[in-house]
């Protein structure tokens, strides 16, 4: 177990290097001029352009640019954004906000999704099952910007139950509650349906039948065996969904004006702000690696037959 974790952590180094290079090369390959958007809707002056290109080493070939980047990275310097602030500062500011939001969303989807999945899975085909099917379908088919805007308009602006936008750099639980519910809403549907399906399958499996026939109470058989075994794909889903929520909550962040990572990456790509893109994506890769490691370790806990040697 211990060596397994150490090995996984060591694997991260080449993966991070590979990922930064890939992203670096992709940003390098993007069409369009990074200077183009800096001067409003007019072309930038030649002098400005020259100074900008010099500052960000934009005229170097890819391997040299990347080499310079990695040397700085090793020193702990993530570079500066195109608007001249350290990328590290931006991440320090945004990661806690996004992390909090993603954790809340994941908690919501896990709690509600698993509960709904269990209730419907146990009584497959019943009224509750169909009700959950219909409501998850509604959630799936409404685009997130509609859910977000409607929730903001009614729950925030009209009824004043929730704050309309996030107003501080260190948002409170309450400020992030509505965005987290919106963000988690689609994933709830995934979790509920995954849970339901797995549970139904497992309830029919031999070992549950055996357990019951051996005299285990239904409740115990369900809880101990079927439920625990059904959780593996659900945990997998929640794991990569957490990663996706960290980096991809562009729409929700925009609606609620949350200073998060997703919007930052999105805007950085648009203005060809290479340092920001590479810095934040590298951070995301690290998060995925850690989360996936945790998920893999959880497999062992949920199903003792799965071992990591």
């Amino acid at each position: 177990m211990g060596t397994y974790i150490v090995r996984r952590i060591l694997q991260m180094i080449p993966v991070i290097l590979g990922a930064t290079f890939l992203i670096f090369a992709m940003v390098f390959a993007l069409p369009g001029d990074p200077v183009a958007g800096k001067c409003g809707e007019r072309p930038c002056s030649a002098a400005y352009r020259a100074a900008f290109i010099e500052k960000y080493n934009l005229d170097d070939p890819l391997p040299i640019q990347y080499g310079k980047y990695v040397v700085n990275l090793a020193k702990g310097d993530l570079g500066t954004t195109a608007s001249d602030t350290p990328v590290a500062d931006q991440l320090k500011l945004r990661v806690p906000v996004t992390g909090k939001l993603a954790l809340m969303a994941v908690a919501f989807e896990a709690l509600v999704g698993i509960l709904a999945g269990v209730l419907t899975g146990i009584r497959k085909g019943g009224f509750l099952d169909n009700l959950v099917l219909v409501s998850t379908l509604v959630l799936i088919s409404i685009p997130i910007f509609v859910i977000g805007n409607v929730a903001q308009l009614y729950l925030g602006v009209k009824f004043g139950l929730f704050p309309v936008t996030v107003t501080s750099s260190n948002p409170t639980f309450y400020e992030l509650l509505l965005p987290a519910l919106v963000l988690g809403s689609l994933s709830v549907a995934y979790v509920a349906r995954l849970m339901r399906t797995n549970l139904v399958e497992n309830l029919r499996s031999d070992y549950v039948r055996t357990a019951i026939s051996k005299g285990l109470t239904k409740r115990r058989a369900y809880g101990l065996h079927a439920l625990r075994n059904s959780l593996i794909p659900v945990v997998t889903f929640i794991g990569f969904d957490f990663g996706a929520l960290l980096g991809g909550a562009v729409v929700t962040e925009g609606i609620f004006n949350i200073p998060g990572v997703g919007g930052y990456i999105f805007r950085a790509i648009r203005v060809r702000d290479g340092a920001s893109v590479v810095g934040s994506v590298t951070f995301l890769v690290i998060v995925y690696l850690v989360v996936n490691l945790l998920v893999d370790l959880l497999y062992g806990l949920l199903d003792p037959r799965i071992s990591h040697d």
């Binding site: 809707e41 007019r42 930038c44 352009r49 500011l93 309309v164 648009r270």
Partner: protein, 552 residues
Amino acid sequence: MRGTARTVAVAAMSAVALLAAGCGSGDSGGDQSSAAGGKTGGEITVRGCNPQNPLVPSNTTETCGGNVIDAIFSKLVHYNAETAKPENDLAESIDTTDNQNFTIKLKQGRKFHDGTEIKAKNFVDAWNYAAYAPNGQSSGYFMEPIEGYGDLQCTGTGDDPCAGDGKAKADKLTGLKVVDDYTFTIKTTEKVSNLPVRLGYSAFSPLPDAFFSDPKAFGDKPIGSGPYKLDAWNKEQSIVLSKFADYTGDFGGKVDKITFKIYTESDAAYNDVIASNLDITDEIPTSALIDDKYKQDLPDRNAQKETGVIQTVTFAPTKVDPNYADPKIRQAISMAIDRDTIIKQIFNNTRVPATGWVSPVVDGYKADQCGEYCTYDPTKAKALLQEAGGFKGDKITLSYNADAAHKDWTEATCNSIKQALGVDCVATGVVDFATFRTQIAERKMKGMFRTGWQMDYPSIENFLAPIFKTGASSNDGDYSNPEFDKLLTQAAASTDEAEANSLYQQAEALLAQDMPAIPMWYGKTTMGWSDKVTGVKITAFGTIDFSSVALK
């Protein structure tokens, strides 16, 4: 989202312009803005966006930084919100007899936010810094008319034009001379009749000595010369300004503290205004403009005003795309665009149909310069196209940058052209502004593409010279007409304002014949505010006039 192509702030709307705008939409800001007055003091929050560069006046040519720069820097002249004329601010007087030698006297006792007095050398140093190419200032080229500008530029080619032999020959403009602490002179290379009007542009701000010792620190926390000083710039979150206690100028504000809260989506800012979490938004999202929804949401708390912005559609240079070479084809396309219906249905009347290439808010504007070519007439358009021998290409294309809200109007414009001319027209999105501008700059964009212009200073010249003069920086269609260039030069030399304007208007009339770009519409800015504030006025630059805003 508005085009974000912005340069400066503060209003100017002449009586002439008001009359010329005619239709009444031009002045609706005055009608609808809340009554002046209100108490002094207190604090307000307004919508802001992320400055793209450090906050140095000569290095900011986009809106987000520009709005802040304008509030914290006073210039020689100030564009008055009501009367249009530039008024002396830091300048005591600006005198010239020949439009080439200008003597500027400063008011005594005006101070920077660090307490040092604003003197002649603060202007000369700042302008030299802006013009000197190795400093890489984005609006350095505003110094171009000043004598000696060429020697401050790098002559090399390639990635670093300032390397080796390419190094600039001088770092001081020969045309600028400090006479005494409160007097300096400007000599221009050629005659420039509207130089005094230009001096209100933010690139001409004075800079304190502290700037030159540490430009980088200054960019983070600029020391300005205006009625408000910058207290804090919390990157990507907020910019906080407070009243400068030692301000002695005439354009001070009423509130004590202004916070620009940074938003990435105008919808979020708008909802915050409705919920009273934000005091003023200078942008109403499209979702609230439809069917004038904002007037229900913010009754008596909204205003709209025409601003110095024009949207045009430019034709690719003939050598890039020969299909549009014939002016008749260009005119036919222009006549095939139903501007009125597009403005009504797509823009909910937040634009004014263009009848020429110059915005009505500036002095020298003349209506109907484009004449029948900017009037929708499908029959004539089709006849004109046939006269020109029909459209040779496969289909007409109209390209736009897809990262801003241009899809709807370009598509509607194409539909209008398609229906009127019977030629297929496709609105083509280009992924983002960076890619879009690169294709235009490298002359690889074929067909037609959208272009917008936001004035730097309120002058007819600003709508013609930078865009249509041969080789000008924003001449994306490579338009070149010797007669047009000659008229501009003559106008710049003219000492009589009326005569200068008339020459500019003659030049503009030539554009109708050659049609290098199709005038689409003039911009309007719509604002909304919470019930806490009063006295909100929109300037001709589409910004908030901070001198009149107050708490109720």
